[in-house]
């Protein structure tokens, strides 16, 4: 499990307190690991993560301004001023404090783990319902549905989804599905969340079109796709695999667990987490290690008095 957190830091060339040591890093973005020992030439005040609460100095304000400017510059396809879709424990690892909205997010999985990828997508949809009112649209191409069946309302409801607000769209081909996704994104922001499931992958032009359509109303967009090609201007790409579920104290099933590998993340770093979905609070939790699993069979547990 990767638990290292990286914080991009700006070092202001104009700050008075920094002295000449900081001047060496003029206009350069330094990425420092928070766990790495503080560099000897960096004054303690720059390492603002750990210091006691102080009034923000002029330098810190400046850093905040620069940070905001950089995000604006880098996220040319992201909707302006939109914050991400909060996912719970994963937020700290994602730029913008959550799943980017208004851009294309891809979810992939190996064939055997595709149900888990569906589950992850459904969970994201349930999360999206919390953020904004309006229906959620799930577009599926027929081939993407062939192997593991159709969405089942009772099961979706148990994942925390408001099924009454779910519009299912079935398209014959991937092309039609992508058209429908774009159409849903352009429905003047009245749709809370758009998800798609296609059997192939997305080419560059289509991905750009989807990005533009999603950005217009900052609609969250998740595309569950097959296909092996990994080129594409997606903001994030997740590869989901299933993991043994948590056990409840009585030996039954607890929350579903998935292994989520963030393979690509614009403005952020990839990572790998074991996550579990809480359908009541609508958030992901980082799963504890496997050590806390209840034993599969407890000897003597089912003893009866005769």
């Amino acid at each position: 499990m990767l638990q290292r957190r990286f914080q991009p830091r700006f070092v202001s060339p104009r700050s008075s307190a920094g002295g000449d040591e900081v001047g060496e890093a003029q206009g350069v973005l330094e990425v420092l690991g928070s766990r790495s020992p503080p560099l000897p030439q960096t004054p303690a005040r720059v390492a603002h993560t750990a210091g006691p609460a102080q009034a923000p100095s002029e330098k810190e304000q400046h850093i905040a301004r620069l940070r905001a400017a950089l995000v604006k510059l880098e996220s040319c396809h992201t909707a302006r001023g939109a914050t991400g879709l909060s996912l719970g424990d994963l937020d700290a690892h994602l730029p913008g404090g959550g799943l980017p909205v208004g851009v294309l997010n891809e979810v992939t999985a190996d064939y055997a783990h595709r149900p888990a990828a569906y589950g992850f997508t459904f969970a994201l949809m349930a999360r999206g319902q919390m953020r904004r009112p309006g229906p959620i649209v799930l577009v599926m191409s027929r081939r993407a549905l062939i192997d593991f069946g159709h969405p089942y309302g009772h099961g979706l409801a148990q994942l925390g989804l408001d099924v009454g607000d779910l519009i299912l769209v079935e398209a014959g081909k991937d092309v039609d599905a992508l058209w429908a996704i774009e159409e849903a994104l352009r429905a003047s922001g009245s749709v809370a969340f758009v998800a798609g499931a296609i059997s192939g992958s997305v080419d560059l032009t289509t991905a750009r079109r989807l990005n533009l359509a999603a950005a217009s109303a900052a609609t969250p967009l998740v595309l569950l796709r097959g296909g092996k090609e990994d080129a594409g201007p997606a903001a994030t790409r997740w590869r989901i695999a299933t993991a043994p579920a948590a056990r409840d104290p009585h030996g039954g099933f607890g929350r579903w667990r998935w292994q989520a590998r963030l393979e690509r993340c614009r403005n952020g770093r990839p990572g790998l987490w074991n996550i579990e979905w809480c359908h009541v609070a609508h958030r992901f939790h980082l799963a504890e290690g496997v050590a806390d699993r209840a034993p599969l069979a407890q000897p003597g547990r089912s003893r009866r008095a005769g």
Binding site: P115, Y152, H154, Q158, V169
Partner: protein, 515 residues
């Protein structure tokens, strides 16, 4: 011998220039049901015995009368006649079933007046090889009488049926044969002779038929028409100076028609739910069409609308889905009509004044549903609603989205919650699995599904679901288990049937996959 020869070769090509009769079985043998001009000139009359007809004309062509084909042809002609007026009715059986009524109120001016309209109609029907008899009057009864017993193209001035009908024979009143022969025996021949008579004696002798028909012809009692297609609630039509071919031109024309219709609907506070765009092709003489040159395009909407831009967009999407063949013509389209078949109240709605951005426009969603349905097909867009059943595959249904459904469905989903775990993905059909269990009625230990062996690491269940006796027989009791294999994949399996002495061995099925 001759009749046998004629009967043996019914597929001989017919020579329209020579005498031809269609025969139907009647009293005393086959009788002439219909005949052409040459046969009439030979002295044959309708209703005559076939043997008499043969005696009169030597080289008579005889065919059986195919009433079904006749009715079908008339129906196609009625579809063709929709280009003149939205309400077209067939003559009912009592009046001979050999023609059409068109309700042309408000339509004639589109063709430059009634005379021009009749000329246009006559020219087109003649071009199609038909010999039409046309008339216009205030009532359908009078129009029928004039078309059958006056010169072709007679137009009765408004309110002048009485004068026009006076000189016509009584047969022009669409009377039954018995009533007609009785009247002739009484010496009454012209309609004018009974118009001035006291009504009571006629009413006593002829029941409703005679006076009823007379009143209908004179417009004293209404005569409802049964149109071939239900009359549209709103309609508009246009003729084009030049035939149009391309999708773009069709859409421009549709947009113009929609603006006409939208104005009518706005006046009534209505919106269209079902529309039909009829495109009338330029007909070629060489290739007669099955559908008499009408290409219909049906549009259904999720919510009433009168927005021309929206509906035109839907038509464009529909044409895109249908592809090239939808608008395949030889010579293009010369006219178009737009019929609103179903309209519903559509009052203006006020957008709630809320300053936060968290509001959604319901019309945007129904518009989206419309566009998706037109492009992907009517069944492509679905909403899930719960159904009252314990059987998993019967406990929900996918229905077409409708406004206000979302609210109901959400409440129904919240109210209706199954006890056990349910998978988010359900297989369309349960699939058989080879299962090994430690004890016969225990959870699976390992199972083979789609050729892959799964070792079960954990299972929960069973959840017993018995078949609903009122639905169908043959279903067996199911014991559902949720199992997880060693790689963490989760499945929903069930064992169908119980271990009972006389029952067949239970079988295992995979019914769904968990995330």
């Amino acid at each position: 011998m001759r009749s046998q020869a004629a009967a043996a070769a019914p597929d001989d090509p017919v020579d329209a220039g020579r005498p031809l009769v269609l025969v139907a079985p009647g009293k005393g043998g086959p009788r002439v049901a219909s005949l052409n001009r040459a046969a009439r000139e030979g002295g044959i009359a309708s209703g005559e015995l076939l043997s008499n007809a043969r005696a009169k004309v030597l080289d008579l062509q005889v065919r059986d009368w195919d009433t079904q084909a006749d009715a079908d042809a008339l129906r196609r002609l009625a579809a063709w006649a929709l280009r003149y007026a939205p309400t077209v009715a067939l003559y009912d059986g009592a009046s001979g079933a050999d023609g059409l009524f068109l309700e042309i109120t408000g339509c004639a001016h589109l063709f430059g007046g009634e005379v021009a309209m009749l000329d246009d109609m006559r020219a087109r029907l003649k071009a199609a090889g038909l010999a039409p008899r046309l008339a216009i009057a205030d009532t359908s009864g009078a129009a029928w009488a004039l078309s059958h017993h006056a010169a072709c193209g007679t137009i009765a001035p408004s309110g002048a049926q009485a004068q026009m009908l006076q000189g016509l024979p009584l047969a022009a009143l669409r009377l039954p044969a018995e009533a007609l022969s009785l009247l002739q025996r009484l010496g009454l021949k012209r309609i004018g002779e009974i118009m001035g008579q006291p009504r009571a004696p006629f009413a006593a002798r002829f029941e409703a038929a005679l006076l009823g028909r007379l009143d209908q012809a004179l417009g004293r009692t209404p005569e409802p028409l049964v149109p071939v297609s239900p009359p549209p609630r709103y309609h508009a039509r246009a003729s084009f100076m030049e035939p149009i071919f391309s999708v773009e031109h069709v859409l421009v024309a549709a947009d113009r028609l929609l603006h006409d219709v939208a104005a009518q609907m706005l006046r009534d506070g209505a919106g269209a739910r079902v529309l039909q765009l009829l495109l009338f092709r330029v007909q070629s003489k060489s290739a007669p069409d099955d559908d008499h040159g009408v290409t219909p395009l049906d549009i259904g909407l999720a919510a009433p609308s009168r927005d021309p831009a929206h509906i035109t967009r839907l038509m464009g999407l529909k044409l895109e889905r249908l592809g090239e063949r939808a608008l395949a013509t030889d010579f293009g389209f010369e006219a178009a009509a737009l019929h609103v078949r179903v309209a519903e109240p559509l009052t203006g709605h006020q957008v709630a004044l809320r300053l936060d951005e968290r509001q959604t426009d319901p019309h945007a969603v129904t518009g989206l549903v419309d566009r998706l349905r037109q492009r992907l097909g009517a069944g492509a867009v679905r909403v899930l609603v719960p159904r009252q059943s314990h059987v998993p595959e019967l406990s929900e249904a996918a229905v077409t989205p409708a406004p206000a459904l979302a609210q109901e469905a959400s409440e129904a989903w919240r109210a209706d919650f199954p006890v056990g775990p349910r998978p988010p993905l359900l297989l369309p059909q349960p699939e058989t699995a080879d299962v090994i269990a430690l004890i016969p009625d225990g959870p699976p230990r390992q199972f083979r599904w789609r050729g892959v062996l799964h070792h079960v690491s954990h299972a929960s269940g069973p959840e017993r679901i018995t078949p609903e006796w009122w639905r169908r027989t043959g279903d067996r009791t199911r014991d559902y288990y949720l199992v997880e294999d060693t790689s963490g994949r989760r499945f929903w399996l069930y064992r169908a049937g119980l271990f009972e002495p006389d029952a067949p061995q239970p079988a295992w099925y995979v019914h769904g996959v968990f995330a």
